[in-house]
C-alpha cells in the first residue's frame, strides 16, 4: 500500500506542477502593464478579479484597475467603483465609488450606468439619492439595460425620487417582463394582486408568478404559493402551496442537495479498508506523506459514525497535507472550515484554503466558494485573499 501511495504521489507532482507555475501572470502582460498600457493593466485587473491563471486577489485587482482607470479604461473604472462600493480589495468609500462609477458610466455601457444607479440608490455609507438613481436608471433603461428598467419601475411604484406612478411602473415592468425578465414578471404580478394601476386580477398575477417561478425565482414561488394556499385565481391546493414554499427555500441558500461535499482525489486508488493497509497508510501519514495523510483523513471523516475525535484528526491530517500544497486536501479542508467540522468554523480560513485549492488545480473551487461563502463580509473576503497570498509567498 505504501508502494501505491508513493506511486500516487508521483502522479500528483506531475499534475500539480503546471498549476503552481500559473501563480503569476504571463511576463509579457506584466511588462506591458508596467509600461503603462491601460488595456494590459485592465486585463491584469480582471485576471486577478476572476482568479483566472492567478490566485484570485481583489486587492491586486484593485491596484491594476486603479492604474487602468486613471488611463481611462471604462471597464476598469467600473470594477474599481464597485470595489469601493462593496469594500472588496479596498477600503469602502462612497465618494470614490461614485467618482469611478460616474467616470465609467460616461463611456455609455448600459450595465455601467445601471451600476452607478445602484450605488446612488443604496450607498456604501448608507446614503441614498433616489432622484439621481432614477435618472441613471432611466438612461440605462433607454440604452437597453433590463435590470435598470425594473429598478426604475420599483422607484415609480414606491414613489422614490420620482412621483408615484403605477401606470409608469406597470409599463416598465411589462417592457421587461415581455422579454422574460423574472424580477419584472414577479413585480408586475404583485401590481395585479394589489390592483395598483390595473384592475385586481389574480389570474393574470398567477400566470406571471408561474412564468417567473419556472425560471427559478424564489420570490415568485412564494407568491404563487400564497395564491394556491388561498385559492386566489387558481384552484385551492395547500399541498402544492407547501411544495412551492419548499422549492423557494431551496432556491435560496445552501441546501443538502446543493451543499458542496468532500471529495476524494480521483487520481488515487480507493482506500483499502483491510487492517494491514490502514496500518500502512497510518504509518505513512505519521511519517508525513501528504497523500497518505489525505487518504487517512478521508478514511476517518467519511466513516458513517465518525466521532468528534476522528473528525478533528481528519481536519489535522487534511491541514498537514494542505500545507504541502496538495490541492484535494486544500479543497476538503476549506469545506470543513466553512462547516466547522473537525476544525473551528472560520469562513476566512475556509475561503483561503478554497482559493489556494483553485490555484492548485481544483477547478470547482470557485463554485464551492460561491455556494458556501454567501454570508461573508468584504473584510473577511479581503482577509482570506491576503492570507492566501501570504501563504504562497511563504511557500515559495
Amino acid at each position: 500500500m505504501i508502494h501505491t501511495a508513493r506511486y500516487s504521489l508521483l502522479i500528483l507532482c506531475l499534475a500539480t506542477a503546471p498549476a503552481l507555475a500559473q501563480q503569476t501572470p504571463p511576463d509579457q502582460l506584466i511588462a506591458q502593464a508596467e509600461a503603462g498600457d491601460a488595456t494590459a493593466q485592465s486585463a491584469l485587473a480582471f485576471a486577478y478579479h476572476n482568479g483566472t491563471d492567478v490566485v484570485q486577489n481583489f486587492s491586486s485587482a484593485a491596484e491594476w484597475a486603479a492604474r487602468a482607470a486613471a488611463g481611462g479604461d471604462a471597464n476598469a473604472q467600473n470594477l474599481l467603483g464597485r470595489y469601493y462600493h462593496s469594500g472588496l480589495g479596498v477600503e469602502q468609500n462612497q465618494a470614490k465609488a461614485l467618482r469611478w462609477l460616474t467616470a465609467a458610466a460616461r463611456g455609455g455601457n448600459p450595465g455601467h450606468i445601471y451600476d452607478l444607479g445602484r450605488a446612488l440608490e443604496s450607498g456604501a455609507d448608507g446614503s441614498s439619492d433616489p432622484a439621481a438613481a432614477a435618472q441613471a436608471y432611466t438612461r440605462a433603461s433607454e440604452a437597453g439595460d433590463l435590470e435598470a428598467t425594473v429598478s426604475l419601475g420599483v422607484l415609480y411604484q414606491e414613489g422614490l425620487g420620482v412621483a408615484q406612478d403605477y401606470a409608469q411602473a406597470r409599463a416598465l415592468y411589462e417592457q421587461a417582463a415581455n422579454q422574460g425578465h423574472t424580477r419584472a414578471q414577479n413585480n408586475l404580478g404583485l401590481l395585479y394582486v394589489r390592483g395598483h394601476g390595473v384592475p385586481q386580477d389574480y389570474e393574470i398575477a398567477a400566470r406571471l408568478f408561474a412564468a417567473a417561478a419556472e425560471q427559478g425565482s424564489p420570490d415568485a414561488m412564494r407568491n404563487l404559493g400564497v395564491l394556491h394556499e388561498n385559492g386566489f385565481g387558481v384552484p385551492l391546493d395547500e399541498a402544492f402551496a407547501a411544495e412551492l414554499y419548499r422549492r423557494a427555500a431551496q432556491a435560496g441558500g445552501v441546501t443538502p442537495q446543493t451543499a458542496p461535499v468532500l471529495q476524494y482525489d480521483a487520481r488515487l486508488m480507493p482506500v483499502a479498508v483491510d487492517d494491514d493497509s490502514l496500518a500502512l497508510i497510518g504509518q505513512a501519514a505519521q511519517a508525513g506523506d501528504p497523500v497518505a495523510q489525505f487518504q487517512w483523513g478521508w478514511h476517518l471523516i467519511t466513516a458513517p459514525d465518525a466521532t468528534f475525535v476522528a473528525q478533528a484528526e481528519a481536519g489535522r491530517l487534511f491541514e498537514a497535507a494542505a500545507q504541502t500544497g496538495y490541492g484535494p486536501a486544500m479543497r476538503n479542508l476549506g469545506i470543513l472550515y466553512f462547516e466547522g467540522r473537525g476544525v473551528p468554523q472560520d469562513f476566512v480560513l475556509g475561503r483561503m484554503w478554497l482559493t489556494l485549492a483553485g490555484s492548485a488545480g481544483q477547478t470547482d473551487a470557485p463554485a464551492v466558494i460561491e455556494a458556501l461563502g454567501g454570508n461573508m463580509t468584504a473584510d473577511q473576503i479581503n482577509d482570506a485573499q491576503s492570507r492566501a497570498l501570504a501563504h504562497l509567498q511563504r511557500k515559495s
Binding site: 468528534f308 475525535v309 478533528a312 466547522g340 473537525g342 476544525v343 473551528p344 468554523q345 472560520d346 469562513f347 476566512v348 480560513l349 454570508n375 461573508m376 463580509t377 473584510d379 473577511q380
Partner: protein, 565 residues
C-alpha cells in the same frame, strides 16, 4: 393384595426417602409463578431413590386387587407416594377416569414415588383434559410452558408449546379455574404467545383474585397501583394488597407494612405497619425482621423491647440482610439497648460492608480513621470510602473524602485533580473547609476546580457569589474547559448573569464545538441565524485568536525565586 405392599421394605429408609420426595414437591410449589418444573438437584434425588421402590412394587403387582381412590388418598396423606403412584397408574390405565388420569399425571410431573416422567404425564393429562378435567388442563398447560427439554436430568422430547398452553389455559380459565386464570393473565401481560394485552391480564387476575387466588390478589394490587390494564386506583390497590396479606402472602404483608409506614397510598399508621412487619417477619422475611427489630430497638412507635429487637435483627442478619447487620452495628456503637461495644459494632459493620452496603463501609471507614474498635488505619479507611463511591451511598463517601481533602489528609495519596469532585460534593453540602480548599485549587489553575466552583456559585442567590462564579467560568473557559465554554456561551446568548453578547456566545460555541461539545454545534447553528455577517466575522476572528494564542495552557504555578546578590 395392594394394601399388603404398603408395608414392604425397611421403614427407616422409607421415612428418609419421603422427606426427600416431599422436598421435590415443595420446590415445585415455591416456584409456580415462573412455570418451572423442579430443579435439577431435586429431580436427581427423586430419580435415584424412587426407581428402586417402583421396581420393587412391580414384582408384587400380579397378586393385588385394584386400589380405590379412597385408599390412594389415605396413602397420599401418609406420604406413601410409591403406593400412590402405582395405584394411580393402574386406575389411569385400566379404569380411565379423568380424575385418576389427572392425579397420575400430576404425580409424574412432580416426580412423586418415582422419577419425573413428563412424556407419560402429557399423555394422561391430555386424556383427562380431553374429558374437560379442568385441573388437568391447567397442569398440562404448565408443562407445555416449562422449558423441559433443556433439563438434562428430566429427559424428554417434549418441546415448549405456548400455543397449546394458551388454548388449554383459555379453556380452563373460562371454566373458572383460578390457577388457569392467573397463568393466562401472566401470558397476556408478557405478550407471551399472544398479543400483549394489559386489559385482558387485568380481567383474568380479577377473576382469579375473587376466587381467593392469593398470588393473583397480590398481582391485582400491583395492577391497580400502577394503572396496568385498568385505571390507577389506590383504594383498590390497598384493598387487594390487604386481602393477599390476610391470606398470608409474605410480600403482600411486607409491602402493606411499608405502605402503612410511609403513608403512601394509605393513611399513615405505624402500629398497623409494625403488625404487618411482624406477620412477614414470622413468615421468615429478613427485610421485615430487620424493620421490626429496628422498631423494637428504637422504642418510639412501639414499647421498647431490646431483647425482642436484637432477636429480630439477629435473625435478619443471620439470613444475610446487610441492613440488619448495619443496624445491629449502630446499636453496639451507640449503646442503644445494649452495652456499648466498639469491637462488636466494627465486626457487624465489617460484615455488612462485605455484603456491599455503602453506608456500612463509610461508618467502618470512620472507625478506621480514629482506631475505634479496630486498629487505626487511614489507608483502610480511604479504601473503604473509595469502595462506597461505587454504591448507592456514594454521596456519604464523597462527602467524607471531600472533608478529608480539605483538611489535607489526602495529600500525597491522591492528585488534587481527583479529589475535586469529592470536595465539590462536600462544598455543595455547605462544608466551608472544602469550599476554601477548592478556591485554592481554582487559583492554582485547576480547571475542574474553577468550573465546579463556578457551577456552585452560579446556582446561588448571592450576587457576589454569582459574580465570582462568572469570573471562574471565564477562567475555566479560557483554560480550555469545553463544557464551561458551552455554558458561558449559553449565558452570553441569553444574557444570564452577563450582558447579552451574541459575538461572545458564538465565539465560545465555536471553540467548544471544535473541542467536542456536540451541544455547542447546534447552538452555534442557532445563534448564526440571529447574527449579522459582521458579527459572525468578529466572533470567528475571536475564536481564531483563541486557538492561535494557545490560551488553553493552564497558567504556570507561580514560583517564588529568591535572587541572591
Amino acid at each position: 393384595m395392594f394394601i399388603s405392599w404398603v408395608g414392604v421394605g425397611p421403614q427407616a429408609a422409607l421415612g428418609f426417602l419421603l422427606i426427600l420426595l416431599l422436598n421435590c414437591g415443595n420446590l415445585l410449589n415455591m416456584i409456580t409463578s415462573s412455570f418451572l418444573i423442579p430443579s435439577r438437584t431435586a429431580l436427581a434425588l427423586c430419580l435415584g431413590l424412587g426407581l428402586g421402590w417402583a421396581n420393587h412394587a412391580m414384582s408384587q403387582e400380579s397378586e393385588n386387587t385394584p386400589p380405590t381412590m379412597a385408599e390412594i388418598e389415605q396413602a397420599w396423606k401418609a406420604n406413601d407416594f410409591v403406593f400412590v403412584r402405582e395405584s394411580l397408574k393402574y386406575l389411569a390405565e385400566e379404569v380411565e377416569t379423568p380424575l385418576a388420569q389427572y392425579r397420575y399425571g400430576r404425580v409424574l410431573v412432580e416426580g412423586r414415588g418415582g422419577p419425573v416422567d413428563l412424556d407419560t404425564a402429557v399423555t394422561y393429562l391430555s386424556r383427562a383434559a380431553e374429558q374437560n378435567h379442568i385441573e388437568a388442563m391447567t397442569l398440562l398447560a404448565r408443562v407445555y410452558l416449562s422449558n423441559t427439554s433443556q433439563d438434562q436430568d428430566a429427559p424428554t422430547t417434549l418441546a415448549r408449546d405456548t400455543e397449546k398452553a394458551l388454548d388449554l389455559l383459555s379453556r380452563a380459565a373460562a371454566l373458572g379455574d383460578d390457577e388457569a386464570q392467573y397463568y393466562l393473565a401472566l401470558l397476556y401481560r408478557e405478550g407471551n404467545g399472544v398479543a400483549q394485552d394489559n386489559k385482558a391480564a387485568f380481567n383474568w387476575l380479577l377473576a382469579a383474585a375473587q376466587q381467593e387466588h392469593v398470588e393473583s390478589q397480590y398481582e391485582l394490587s400491583r395492577h391497580y397501583s400502577q394503572g396496568i390494564g385498568t385505571a390507577q386506583d389506590n383504594a383498590q390497590s390497598l384493598a387487594w394488597l390487604e386481602r393477599a396479606a390476610e391470606n398470608n402472602h409474605i410480600k403482600a404483608q411486607y409491602f402493606l407494612a411499608a405502605a402503612y409506614e410511609s403513608g403512601r397510598g394509605v393513611a399513615q399508621n405505624t402500629s398497623a405497619a409494625i403488625e404487618w412487619y411482624r406477620r412477614a417477619a414470622e413468615n421468615g422475611l429478613p427485610a421485615a425482621q430487620r424493620n421490626l427489630g429496628t422498631y423494637y430497638l428504637q422504642g418510639e412507635a412501639v414499647k421498647q423491647n431490646v431483647e425482642e429487637g436484637l432477636r429480630w435483627l439477629t435473625a435478619a442478619a443471620k439470613a444475610g440482610d446487610p441492613g440488619a447487620m448495619a443496624n445491629l452495628a449502630v446499636s453496639y456503637a451507640t449503646g442503644m439497648g445494649v452495652e456499648r461495644n466498639d469491637e462488636t459494632a466494627a465486626d457487624w459493620y465489617n460484615r455488612a460492608s462485605e455484603y456491599g452496603l455503602g453506608r456500612a463501609k463509610v461508618a467502618l471507614g470512620r472507625f478506621y480513621e480514629v482506631g475505634r474498635g479496630v486498629e487505626q488505619d487511614m489507608d483502610r479507611a480511604i479504601a473503604l470510602y473509595e469502595q462506597a463511591l461505587k454504591t448507592p451511598d456514594a454521596a456519604q463517601a464523597a462527602l467524607r473524602l471531600g472533608q478529608l481533602a480539605a483538611n489535607g489528609a489526602l495529600d500525597k495519596r491522591f492528585a488534587p485533580q481527583s479529589a475535586i469532585p469529592w470536595a465539590l460534593y462536600a462544598a455543595q453540602n455547605a462544608d466551608a473547609d472544602a469550599e476554601a480548599w477548592l478556591v485554592t485549587q481554582a487559583e492554582a489553575g485547576l480547571r475542574d476546580a474553577q468550573s465546579g466552583l463556578a457551577a456552585l456559585y452560579l446556582g446561588s442567590d448571592d450576587q457576589d457569589r454569582i459574580t465570582a462564579g462568572v469570573k471562574l467560568l471565564e477562567q475555566a473557559a479560557m483554560g480550555g474547559d469545553a463544557p464551561a465554554q458551552a455554558r458561558l456561551g449559553e449565558m452570553y446568548m441569553t444574557g444570564t448573569h452577563v450582558e447579552l453578547d451574541y459575538v461572545a456566545a458564538h465565539k465560545w460555541f465555536n471553540i467548544a464545538a471544535t473541542l467536542g461539545q456536540s451541544k455547542a454545534v447546534d447552538l452555534r447553528e442557532t445563534i448564526n441565524t440571529l447574527m449579522t455577517p459582521e458579527q459572525v466575522a468578529d466572533a470567528q476572528a475571536a475564536a481564531r485568536y483563541w486557538f492561535e494564542n494557545d490560551e488553553r495552557q493552564p497558567p504556570e504555578t507561580p514560583q517564588t525565586v529568591t535572587v541572591e546578590q
